[in-house]
C-alpha cells in the first residue's frame, strides 16, 4: 500500500495505491471511507513479472488499484481498511494508516527551481526515450499557476494546459532515409475526465507508416512529472520509415475530453434573515460547511493537442552501387532452387529470400539477369513482418524460369546491397550461382518481350503531318434539324393508315409463289391421306389465291369470266386459259362427286403443270 502523503490539506487529493500480489481477488467490499470522499478510482492496472533465478522460474501477478480521495474536515483520521473479497471467500485487508488533514495553505510549498516557458507545457518534461533527461527529472518541480493540490480557486481562470496534455514521443530525431523510427502517442492527465476523443490524428507525410497493434485494454501508468502525479495512457504506437530526405514534420494530435475540474467553493455570507426555523437550521449548516471550504467538481470540455515533432532525415551517401534497391538496416540474403537437373519446358522455381531488420516493405527485388534460353516470369512476393521490438521479417521473391534449350547453365550471380546503419556504409551481399543441368530437346519460347527489341521507337523520328487544312463543323442543332427531322417524318408517313387495296398490292411476287407452293404442298399431303374433301378445298383455294395475286385483284372479285378476260390481257394463250378454267371446274366438282383417288392424282399433276406454265407467262 502506497500513500501519496500522510499529511494533506483540506481538499487536497490523497492517492492510495493498493497492490495485491498473487491474490485472486474478486470484489471490493466497502463503498464508504468516511470522512474521506472517493473522487477517483479505483482504477486497476495489472502487471506480470516472470523471473528465472538459478534455473527456477517464478512468476507473479500484481494487480494495483488506485484510489483518489479528498477530505473536507481537518483533523487526524485513521484511514479505514480497504477490504477485498478473494475468490476463495476470505478477505484481504489493507493496513490502517493515520492521515492528518490540515487547513488549506498551511503546508509549506516546495520551492520552484526553474521557471519553464509558461506557454510550453512540455518544457522540462521527461522524455522516456532520452536517457539523459532522467537526471534533471529526478528533482521535483512544482507546476506554476495551480497550487500543489491541483485545485483551482477561481473557476473563471481555468488553465488545464498543465493538467491534461498529449505528447508524441519519437526515439530518434535524426535518421537516415529508410531508418526506422518508433513513435508513440501518450496522453497525460492529472484530472479525472470523461472519455477521450481524437479530433485529428497526426499526419505522417513523407513516411511509410504502420501501426503497432495495441492491447485491447489500454494500459494506464502512473508517472511523476515535475513532482506531480499523472496518469498516462499510450494510445498509439507507430513504426515509421522516412521515404525522403529533409526535415519532416509529424503534425500534432488533437483531442478533446470533458475534464472534471476540482474547484474550491468560497465561503458565502448570507445576510438574509431566515424565514422560518427550518431555513435557519439549513443556513447554519451551510455556513458551517462553507467556512471550512468545499470542493466541487465541474465538468469542463477541454480540447488539447500534442506538439508537432520535427525529424531531420539525412540522405543516404551518393556512392550507392548499382545493386542497391533501397534497403536500409541489416540483412541476410540467400537464393534457392528446387532442382538442379530438369528437362526443357519444365518449370524451375527460384527463390530469393531476404531476412533482416529494417525497411523491408520498401525494398524492391534485386535485378537478376538470366540466360536468354530461360523464359522468366514475374516474381511472386511473400512478406512476413513483425513490428516489435524493431521492424524485421522476411521478404521472399518466387521466380519461375522455364528453360528452352538443353545444356549446362548457371543461376544468376545475384548481388544485394543495403545501407548498414551501424557501419554507416553500403554493404553488398552475394547469393552464389548454382549450376543447373537441362536435358531434353530444344523447344520454342513463347514470343514475349522480343517485340520491344525489334523496333526501337526511342530512336525514331516523329512524323510531322501534311499541310494543315481547316474543317467546317456543322453545328449540332442544324444536324438534328436537317438529319433527324426528315427521319421522324419518314416514320410518321410509314405509320399513316393505308387503304386495303394499296396494301394488298405491296405484296411482292416472291411471296405469292411461296404461298401457293405451300398450299399445293398441303394439297399433296391430303392426297396421300386420301382426304378427299380437304384436298379439293385446298386445291381450289390455291387456284383462286394464285390468280388473285397474279392479276392483282381481290379473291372475292374473281369469277370465271373476268379471269379469262384478264388472262387474255396478259397475253396468256386461249388453250392455257381453257385448261385453267377446266381445272377450276374439276376441283369444284370434285367436292360433290365421287371421283376416286386416281382422279385426284391426275388433277393434282395437271394443276402443277398448268400453274408452272402460267408462272412462266405472268412472272
Amino acid at each position: 500500500m502506497q500513500i501519496s502523503s500522510r499529511k494533506i490539506e483540506v481538499g487536497e487529493e490523497l492517492l492510495i495505491i493498493l497492490s495485491l500480489t498473487n491474490l485472486n481477488e474478486r470484489e471490493l467490499m466497502q463503498k464508504k471511507y468516511d470522512p474521506f470522499i472517493l473522487i477517483g478510482g479505483p482504477s486497476q492496472s495489472r502487471s506480470m513479472n516472470t523471473s528465472i533465478i538459478n534455473g527456477r522460474m517464478s512468476s507473479s501477478q500484481t494487480n494495483s488499484y488506485t484510489f483518489q480521495f479528498v477530505c473536507k474536515k481537518t483533523g487526524k483520521y485513521t484511514f479505514p481498511k480497504i477490504t477485498f473479497k478473494l475468490a476463495d471467500g476470505t478477505l484481504a485487508e489493507s493496513q490502517p494508516v493515520v492521515i492528518e488533514v490540515v487547513k488549506q495553505g498551511s503546508l509549506p510549498r516546495q520551492a520552484q527551481q526553474r521557471q519553464p516557458d509558461p506557454y510550453d507545457p512540455f518544457a522540462g518534461f521527461f522524455d522516456p526515450f532520452d536517457p539523459f533527461a532522467n537526471q534533471q527529472q529526478r528533482q521535483p518541480q512544482a507546476p506554476p499557476q495551480t497550487n500543489n493540490s491541483g485545485i483551482y480557486t477561481d473557476p473563471s481562470k481555468l488553465d488545464l494546459k498543465r493538467d491534461i496534455f498529449a505528447r508524441i514521443h519519437v526515439n530518434k530525431n535524426k535518421v537516415y532515409v529508410g531508418e526506422q523510427i518508433y513513435a508513440s502517442i501518450k496522453i497525460y492527465t492529472a484530472l479525472n475526465s470523461k472519455g477521450f476523443e481524437a479530433e485529428k490524428l497526426p499526419n505522417f507525410n513523407g513516411f511509410w507508416s504502420q501501426d503497432i497493434p495495441m492491447p485491447e485494454k489500454l494500459e494506464m501508468k502512473r508517472e511523476t512529472i515535475n513532482g506531480r502525479e499523472f496518469v498516462s495512457v499510450e494510445i498509439k504506437r507507430i513504426t515509421l520509415f522516412p521515404t525522403k530526405a529533409g526535415t519532416l514534420e509529424i503534425t500534432p494530435l488533437k483531442m478533446k475530453t470533458i475534464a472534471l475540474v476540482p474547484v474550491s467553493v468560497k465561503p458565502q455570507r448570507n445576510s438574509r434573515q431566515p424565514r422560518d426555523l427550518m431555513e435557519a437550521i439549513q443556513m447554519m449548516m451551510d455556513a458551517q460547511m462553507n467556512s471550512v471550504g468545499g470542493v466541487e467538481f465541474k465538468e469542463i470540455p477541454y480540447s488539447f493537442s500534442s506538439g508537432s515533432e520535427k525529424i531531420t532525415v539525412l540522405p543516404l551517401p551518393e556512392n550507392a552501387p548499382a545493386s542497391f534497391t533501397g534497403g536500409v538496416g541489416k540483412y541476410t540474403f540467400n537464393s534457392f532452387i528446387d532442382k538442379k537437373e530438369l528437362k526443357t519446358d519444365e518449370a524451375l522455381n527460384y527463390r530469393l529470400e531476404l531476412n533482416g531488420t529494417g525497411n523491408l516493405p520498401m525494398i524492391d527485388a534485386p535485378k537478376a539477369t538470366w540466360s536468354e534460353d530461360f523464359e522468366l516470369y514475374d516474381p511472386q512476393l511473400k512478406e512476413n513482418y513483425s513490428s516489435v521490438p524493431s521492424f524485421s521479417g522476411t521478404k521472399v521473391w518466387n521466380y519461375v524460369a522455364i528453360p528452352h534449350q538443353p545444356g549446362n547453365f548457371q543461376t544468376p550471380n545475384l548481388e544485394f546491397t543495403y545501407f548498414d546503419l551501424d557501419q554507416k556504409k553500403y554493404v553488398t551481399l552475394t547469393a552464389p550461382s548454382t549450376p543447373i543441368k537441362v536435358t531434353g530437346s530444344p523447344t520454342k519460347a513463347k514470343e514475349k518481350s522480343k517485340k520491344f527489341d525489334e523496333f526501337n521507337y526511342a530512336k525514331q523520328k516523329i512524323k510531322e503531318s501534311a499541310p494543315y487544312a481547316k474543317s467546317n463543323t456543322l453545328s449540332n442543332s442544324l444536324f438534328y434539324g436537317l438529319g433527324i427531322l426528315p427521319l421522324i417524318l419518314a416514320f410518321i408517313i410509314g405509320f399513316l393508315p393505308k387503304n386495303e387495296e394499296k396494301s394488298e398490292r405491296f405484296i411482292s411476287g416472291k411471296r405469292i409463289s411461296e404461298q401457293v407452293t405451300k398450299q399445293m404442298k398441303q394439297a399433296e399431303i391430303h392426297l396421300k391421306a386420301e382426304d378427299k374433301n380437304a384436298f379439293y378445298q385446298e386445291l381450289t383455294r390455291a387456284y383462286w389465291n394464285y390468280l388473285g395475286n397474279k392479276l392483282r385483284m381481290e379473291t372475292s372479285d374473281l369469277s370465271r369470266s373476268n379471269i379469262s378476260d384478264k388472262l387474255k390481257e396478259r397475253k396468256v394463250s386461249d388453250d392455257l386459259i381453257q385448261q385453267m378454267i377446266n381445272l377450276i371446274d374439276r376441283s369444284e366438282m370434285g367436292l360433290y362427286t365421287a371421283y376416286g383417288s386416281q382422279a385426284m392424282e391426275t388433277l393434282y399433276n395437271e394443276s402443277l403443270t398448268v400453274l408452272n406454265e402460267l408462272e412462266k407467262i405472268l412472272v
Partner: protein, 239 residues
C-alpha cells in the same frame, strides 16, 4: 475512299490560312515556342481542325523535349480522330523517349470499336445522316402516293443504313467526350491512402492514368499497371 474524299471536298470551306501557315513556318524554323503560341491562337479561331492543331502542338512540345506534355496533346488529338497512324506512331516514340513500354494494353483501349466509330469523320457523318434521311423521307413520301415495285425493300435498306450512321455518330460522340484521363507530368509518388501516407509507389512520367476519385488537391488515379494510387493534382495534365 475516293468517293468519300470527294464528298468531304463538298463540305469543306476554304478559309484564310495565314495563322496556321505562320505556325508551320515557325515550326520549320525550329521556333517551337512561337509555333505553340500560334497554334494556341489557331485553337480559338473558327473552323479550326482540332485533331490537327493538337497534333502540331504535340510535335512542338516533342521537339522541346517536353515529352509528357507532348503526350498530353497527342492524346487530345487521338480523341478527336482515332484513325491517325502518324499520331499513334508519335505517341509510341514519345513514350519510348520516357522509357515507357510502347505495347501497353491501356495505350489504345477499345481499339477495334474505336476504329469503326471514327471510320467516317464526324462532320461528314452528320452530312451523310442528313442526306440519307432526306432520301428516306422522299422515298417514303413518294411511296405513300405511288406504288413502285421493290420500293419497300429499298426503303428498308436505306432505313437500316441511316440507323447505322446515327449509331456511328453517337459512338464517335461518346468517345470524343470521354473524360477523366490524365498524363503524369513528372515522376511522382502515389500513395495507397487518401491521406497521402502509408504504402507508396513511384509513378512514372508520361504514364496515362484514369482519374477515379478526387479530394481537394489530391486525386486517385488508376495507373497503367491497373493499381490505384493517390497523387497530387499538380502532377498531371488532364486530357
Amino acid at each position: 475512299m475516293k468517293n468519300l474524299s470527294l464528298f468531304i471536298m463538298l463540305f469543306i470551306g476554304f478559309g484564310v490560312y495565314s495563322q496556321s501557315e505562320e505556325a508551320l513556318k515557325a515550326y520549320n524554323a525550329q521556333n517551337y515556342e512561337e509555333a505553340i503560341s500560334l497554334w494556341n491562337k489557331e485553337l480559338a479561331s473558327p473552323n479550326r481542325s482540332l485533331e490537327q492543331v493538337f497534333f502540331q502542338i504535340g510535335n512542338a512540345y516533342f521537339k522541346l523535349q517536353d515529352y509528357s506534355k507532348s503526350l498530353a496533346f497527342y492524346e487530345k488529338s487521338l480523341r478527336e480522330d482515332y484513325n491517325q497512324t502518324d499520331l499513334k506512331f508519335n505517341i509510341k516514340v514519345a513514350r519510348a523517349k520516357l522509357s515507357l513500354d510502347t505495347e501497353n494494353k491501356t495505350l489504345f483501349t477499345h481499339d477495334w470499336i474505336k476504329k469503326i466509330a471514327y471510320l467516317i469523320p464526324l462532320n461528314l457523318l452528320k452530312w451523310m445522316v442528313i442526306v440519307f434521311s432526306l432520301i428516306l423521307f422522299i422515298l417514303s413520301a413518294v411511296h405513300y402516293f405511288k406504288e413502285i415495285q421493290y420500293f419497300a425493300l429499298f426503303k428498308n435498306y436505306a432505313l437500316i443504313f441511316v440507323f447505322f450512321l446515327i449509331g456511328l455518330f453517337f459512338l464517335q460522340n461518346y468517345f470524343k467526350s470521354e473524360k477523366g484521363f490524365a498524363i503524369i507530368s513528372k515522376q511522382t509518388t502515389g500513395f495507397e491512402n487518401a491521406s497521402m501516407k502509408g504504402k507508396s509507389k513511384p509513378i512514372h512520367e508520361g504514364e496515362k492514368v484514369e482519374i477515379v476519385d478526387e479530394i481537394g488537391n489530391t486525386a486517385q488515379v488508376k495507373t497503367e499497371a491497373d493499381t490505384k494510387y493517390w497523387i497530387e493534382k499538380s502532377n498531371f495534365y488532364i486530357i
